[in-house]
């Protein structure tokens, strides 16, 4: 079993991992940048190591300092958290080469899944439905041919893609070559890889993903789905489980596809298989080879501590849950609270009560540094039904007070109160429509 864990991350996910370490009797060591000296995880961890100046490339992305810090503080494992180096195969390899456990899949698996073309190919080989598109990477000639075959609109995507970068929708053939060149250039700059592929663009689908946990003994279990359809510029804002777009039969099929795919890859730890859903059909999109920001939603409906399963799996321990024991019990929803400015939080009040959970690293008097991701808190509530859960979320949002920095709190209240959200009949275009109504 792991004795000492270095957390190569910051913010709320670092707090989440430290809490899990405490529960499991594991010594936690936090790696932090100079901008995060007063950050909550640094105050909470058993030990701490400053690994660089504020810019992430010199600290949270500084592989050499992170691995050295882990070795010199006698850690036996490294948790990469979310973002930063979480899906970096070279980092996972360096951790392994230093004789430490990496909390996540093997570097070879991270590498394969990081290439969206190879990942899609793996899914198709297993007979998992994929979005129709090009056969592998495309230049402008192949792209035109593929688009003619499947019909417009199409979407061009970067093979190394993520976060909406290197992604463009093309509605007519005339613009395809130019758009492809621009998107490829953007991908080249963002990921040092301009390889592109092309897919049919689904209009206003739902984004539904399956949570997976897997150990090193061949057990792969899915914890049902999360619906992450409420997005702004490909950034998720509200996530819920179960999804209104998924019935038990469809859940079984999607879960089965996700389990088969990750089993075939020898996957370990927590992972998410993302699908687009339209008219009762699901299409494989990609795999996130890490724990995700919205993992608490699945924890709340299944009662499974996902971070704990990750740590157990890395320690060669079996999962604590079997597939036949997994139940989606009631409903859970998460609202992401994002900062719209940096600065000092002068007043902070956390909502409470039955079925309310807040994962955050804020405290009164804490200064939010301007260097990193804007996510500052995740408010998660559960209820016996979607109606009860959403009402509870409304109550919790109205209790939450964050003064001193600008946040999206008011926008979240409006999203949750929106009639289309209440009815549940919307697709990924929902927030765009809401914005046109001028209420966000």
């Amino acid at each position: 079993m792991i004795q000492s864990l270095l957390i190569a991350n910051r913010g709320e996910i670092a707090v989440r991992i430290i809490r899990c370490c405490r529960q499991m009797g594991i010594r936690s060591v936090i790696a932090y940048s100079q901008a995060d000296r007063d950050c909550l995880p640094v105050l909470m961890a058993d030990d701490k190591v400053c690994i660089g100046p504020p810019p992430a490339r010199d600290s949270y992305l500084n592989v050499r300092n992170l691995v050295t810090a882990a070795v010199l503080t006698h850690c036996d494992a490294v948790h990469p958290g979310v973002g930063f180096l979480a899906e970096n195969a070279d980092f996972a390899r360096d951790v392994r080469d230093a004789g430490l456990l990496f909390i996540g899949p093997d570097p070879e698996v991270i590498e394969l899944l990081g290439d969206k073309i190879r990942a899609k190919h793996s899914a198709r080989e297993l007979g998992i439905p994929v979005i129709p598109g090009s056969d592998g990477s495309v230049g402008s000639r192949e792209a035109l041919a593929a688009a003619r075959k499947i019909g417009y609109p199409v979407i061009v995507k970067a093979a190394a893609g993520g976060g909406g970068k290197g992604m463009r929708i093309v509605r007519a053939g005339g613009e395809l070559a130019d758009v492809l060149a621009i998107a490829s250039h953007e991908a080249e700059k963002a990921f040092s890889d301009g390889t592109m592929y092309l897919e049919k663009y689904l209009e206003n689908p739902r984004h539904v993903e399956i949570q997976i946990v897997a150990d090193r003994k061949g057990n792969v279990v899915h914890l049902g789905e999360r619906d992450c359809t409420v997005q702004q510029n490909h950034q998720k804002l509200v996530e819920e489980s179960p999804s209104l777009a998924v019935d038990p039969e469809m859940r079984r099929r999607m879960g089965d596809d996700a389990v088969r795919l990750l089993k075939s890859l020898g996957y370990t730890g927590a992972g998410t298989v993302e699908f687009l859903v339209q008219e009762g059909k699901h299409y494989f999109m990609e795999v996130n080879a890490r724990v995700q920001v919205e993992h608490p939603v699945s924890e709340m409906v299944t009662g499974v501590d996902i971070i704990r399963q990750q740590i157990l799996a890395a320690s060669e321990q079996p999962l604590e849950i079997r597939q036949e024991e997994v139940r989606l019990d009631g409903y859970a929803v998460e609202c992401r609270i994002n900062a719209r400015s940096a600065g000092k939080v002068v007043r902070f009040h956390v909502p409470g009560g039955f079925g309310v959970r807040m994962d955050t690293f804020l405290y009164s008097g804490y200064s939010v540094p301007p260097w990193y991701d804007h996510l500052v808190a995740k408010l998660i509530v559960s209820g016996r039904s979607r109606t009860e859960g959403i009402r509870r979320m409304e109550g919790a949002l109205s209790e939450l007070v964050i003064e001193g920095i600008a946040t999206n709190l008011e926008a979240q209240k409006k999203i949750v109160a929106h009639p289309a959200f209440r009815r549940g009949d919307y697709g990924t275009g929902f927030l765009g429509e809401v914005q046109k109504e001028g209420i966000l």
Binding site: R37, C50, I51, N65, T68, A69, C75
Partner: protein, 151 residues
């Protein structure tokens, strides 16, 4: 007891105010003692605010410290996480001693990171006023290593 547990215990013990610790569990017994040969090294005096000095409890500034310091001394801090070595080999003489006046480019110490020995050189002509880290200790990014004066 696992080695890692022992290391963790040693680390906690070192930082604690205890001078002796006996720990027994499952038949294992560990006895840790601090050797108090010389008075503890003076806390690194601070002229400029150190770039990164991890502080567990805010430390009260030592009253006599500011008076002792020359006005123009400055701190050289660690540019990476690693192990601090004052000499090229265990039996070799240290690169520098307190009071040495050295030219730009002179090696001051070695920082070992991931089995790579990074030689760390003076960026300007300087005098070593104080050496702030013991040989073989781990340093963080920004840990003050030397107090120096430009010459």
């Amino acid at each position: 007891m696992e080695l890692n547990e022992l290391y963790a215990l040693m680390e906690k013990f070192e930082k604690s105010g205890l001078s002796e610790l006996v720990y027994k569990r499952n038949g294992d017994e560990v006895c840790l003692k601090k050797v108090l040969t010389s008075p503890p090294a003076p806390a690194p005096a601070v002229v400029q605010v150190p770039v990164s000095r991890p502080v567990h409890e805010p430390r009260a500034p030592s009253p006599e410290a500011p008076a002792k310091k020359g006005p123009e001394s400055e701190l050289i801090t660690a540019p990476l996480v690693g192990t601090f070595y004052r000499a090229a080999a265990p039996d070799a003489p240290p690169f520098v001693e307190i009071g040495d006046v050295v030219k730009k480019g002179k090696t001051l110490c070695i920082l070992e990171a991931m089995k790579l020995m990074n030689e760390f050189q003076a960026e300007f002509d300087l005098e070593i006023v104080n050496i702030l880290v013991e040989n073989g200790r781990m340093v963080e990014y920004g840990t003050p290593l030397f107090e120096v004066r430009r010459t």
